[in-house]
């Protein structure tokens, strides 16, 4: 257990360094983007009928807190605030804390991503085993083709297809938002039902997007395990097929656990297309809006969260692998 603690401490230290590197890179990257936060809003005020003087004055008043300090000094201030857990204030939503915006958006990314990922993992792994064991049959072939097909479709194409079929054509599922506004948010059945209904399309999109990868990886892993000596030995010993399948499954699934943990983090980063298509107000949607409005604090906060989630997932994957595969501990 001491070894595990040492290992954990090492991973956390490495993770912190990685976070610092990414925070630094992100900070300078977002500030290098052309255009100031007020530029876009200035044009919108003009369009709303303000004179150029008035629009400039309003921008100066509302967006005037864009710092005039040097970039290095801003970076120092940002790190100091970050160390105290302060992500700063939004520019687009004049003065609203970034943490407030991120916390508002986070559940609408975490829940669909986790649900979609778990569903895809479950179906992908089962499908992969079947596709490997029955690889010479029609069903095995069909499963493999289904995996290759969905793995090759880009996220936005798949999301658009689902939107057209299930909302526009058949009108079975809502296309936007998280719930019906007429229900009181809380632990009541109508609201939970409405949230579930609105989440069906994003969750299915996430699930379909990663299902193919799981299926093909599992199939390949199972096929590899099938050729191992211990499987031949178990067959020769007359061990029951169900038990043999358990041996195969346990050994084949090992590499997939690492990828599963990493996928949680990666899918946060890849939620833009899905959230944009379904107008689902998660972290990806918030990040897209903040980029459009040059909202540096929100951009930095969202990037930070994505980075941290990937790093944490990485550490968990590493540690889990240590636990489930004795060979790694040696």
């Amino acid at each position: 257990m001491t070894g595990f603690a040492r290992r954990l401490a090492g991973k956390l230290a490495t993770g912190l360094v990685m976070v610092w590197v990414v925070v630094t890179f992100t900070f300078f990257l977002v500030h290098a983007l052309p255009g100031k936060p007020g530029d876009v809003q200035y044009e919108q005020y003009i369009m709303m009928g303000m004179s150029s003087d008035q629009a400039a004055a309003k921008v100066q008043a509302v967006y005037g807190f864009t710092s005039h300090d040097s970039l290095l000094s801003q970076y120092g201030g940002y790190l100091a605030k970050l160390a105290h857990g302060d992500l700063g204030q939004s520019i687009t939503y004049s003065g609203v804390p970034v943490s407030h915006l991120i916390w508002s958006a986070l559940p609408w990314t975490v829940i669909p991503v986790l649900t979609g990922l778990l569903i895809s993992f479950l179906f992908g792994v089962i499908g992969g085993i079947v596709a490997a064991v029955k690889r010479s049959s029609r069903w095995g072939g069909l499963l493999t083709v289904s995996g290759s097909l969905v793995a090759g479709i880009p996220a936005f194409v798949l999301a658009l297809l689902m939107l057209v079929v299930f909302h526009t054509e058949w009108n079975l599922l809502p296309d936007a938002g998280t719930s019906d506004i007429q229900y009181d948010p809380g632990w009541n059945l109508p609201y939970i039902g409405s949230v579930a209904q609105h989440a069906v399309l994003p969750v299915c999109a996430y699930a379909l997007l990663s299902y193919g990868g799981w299926l093909l990886a599992m199939k390949s892993s199972v096929v590899s395990v099938l050729g191992d000596d211990f499987i031949l030995a178990s067959e020769l010993r007359g061990i029951a097929p169900v038990t043999r399948a358990r041996y195969i499954g346990r050994n084949a699934i090992l590499p997939l656990f690492t990828v599963l943990a990493l996928s949680f983090g990666v899918m946060f980063a890849g939620s833009f297309f899905i959230e944009d298509t379904f107008d689902y107000p998660g972290l990806g949607d918030l990040l897209l809006k903040s980029i459009g409005g040059r909202d540096y604090p929100v951009m930095a906060g969202a990037f930070l969260l994505i980075t941290v989630s990937i790093i944490i997932a990485n550490i968990i994957a590493d540690l889990c692998y240590t636990l489930i595969d004795p060979r790694v501990r040696r």
Binding site: A57, H100, L101, G177, P190, A196, P281
Partner: protein, 615 residues
Amino acid sequence: MSRPKPLVAAIAVATIAATALSACSSSSAKKSNGGGGGGTGGVFTSIDANNKITAGAPMNPFNAAPNMFLGYNEMQMGFSKYDPSDPNAMLPGLAASWTSSDAGLTVQLQPNAKWSDGTPVTVADIKTSLAIAYTQGTAGPVASAGGTVVAGSNFEVSDVKDLGGGKIEIDQQPGVKNLYFQRLVLSAYIVSDKVYGSQLPADIWSQIAAVQGSDQSAAGAAATKLSAEGKTIAAFAPAKDVSAGPFVETRVNPGEALLDRNQYFYAANKISPKQVILRSYSGNQQIWGYMNGGELDYAPYTSMPTNILNQVLGAGYTRMDAPSYVSASIAFNEKQAPYNLTPVRQALAYVIDRDAVTKVGEPVGGIAAPTTTGLVGSQSDTILSGDQKAALNPYKPDPAKATSLLQGAGFTKDSSGKWHLPGGAPWTITLQTVNGFSDWIAASTIVANELTAFGIPTTAAITADFATYQKEMAAGKYAVGWWLVALGPQTDKAYARIYGSADGFSVSNGQATYNDSAPTNWEHTPQTYTVNGQSINPGQLAAQLSVTPVADQQPIIAQLAAATNQELPMIQIWNYTHVMFTLDKRFTNFPKTGQDDLLNNPPGVWMMQGYVQGK
């Protein structure tokens, strides 16, 4: 393999149950809430195109992106009629009537004006709201980055007095004469003193007096203080909505906002919908989807292809058009040759077929600009005389005239039909536009084809986003690009869009100063034009417009229109039309095309005037 089975089963059952449950509960709830109109209420569903809903944003009209909706729960004393012949013309809001004088404005509040908590709207609310406007940079001078005080074309209130009986005197700062004082004051956001008053310091009006005073250092300090207070006000998040409008916000989720009828609204008997649902949207396509399903009672303007228009009309929608006072134009950076030559810009105007471009670029919401004057057609038609209009060159497509103009300027055409600059170099154009501006992008393709066919190889280039576009345009990176002009019914503001900061002119008290190297100056037009044998300074004329009473503006506008038409600092391609749609299934008595004063306002304002009744 035995253990995963219950898990799979549990997940499958839970998923199916949740979906079934949601399907049942949604349908039953929608029935009980009666999406319909009806004499006693119903749900009016729409989209606020200017304000996307964000769950994390506060219910505070002074935030840059608030969950507040004009005409529903965001109130003003009056709402602009957008009348080009009288920009001060207003529809009543919280003010039932008003009289204007040189000293300011006397307002009679609606006799029953109340907040949604049942308390009356008083002079304290008006005073607090106008003081907040100072902190937001919309009412008075502001602190610039350099610490100096910048005077804008703001309304500069110096005092708010209670005359009793709901009558309020609002004084304009002595010595300041803003032609649009009435419109600017009446259209300021009015919020409850009880909710917002505590956010202001007790000495706010002393600060306002200081910023208006002659002591420059005191004014600078006060402006900085006001600006800092403005940021606090903008970030303020009231716990609940207290509105003096026809509706009050009950709930916002990330996709929709729900507003309930305000029983204390001064004209509650005129308001038919019991609830308003405002939906969020990610793009035009989503709005079209809602319309095809008949889900929106009012749909805002969206750039819409003809086949989509036919679909929504087929779904039962009625189209209404009103002037929009915005024109899509192709602008030039005259610092870059050959666009510094007037014959070149004129030749390009003769090549571009604006009708053809409009058909592709903006087939529904716009009409090809008949002339380039700096104003939209409805404005110039109203203001210019018959002779003045007849003297304008419409630049009808005429390749022969374009050829003659270019040859006269020393351009040559080679054997392959390609034009060369006077120095002999081949002439190519990069027409710049912005990602996401679908109408500009579509139109760019047509313009590029037309110019290429004429012998000037033209490429349509796209900038990643608008912030980058503005920065690069200001940096002089584009020689030819799209731009919006003719903004608003106020002619001085329309001309300030051309002969203002983007052209190196800055205005103070009706006087313009010119700086060719100003950081925002990307047009670089000459400071003066010679029009009909007379030298004019368009920046000075535009500045003069801002202090000239509307009744006396005609001669100045005629000069500016003639100069713009001759010199073409930009070519107006199409004038946008404010197109909107209403659905007559659940509600009726919508305003109709021609009632522009109403149609240029949101449906909440229509309701205040007695329109939109349940069927």
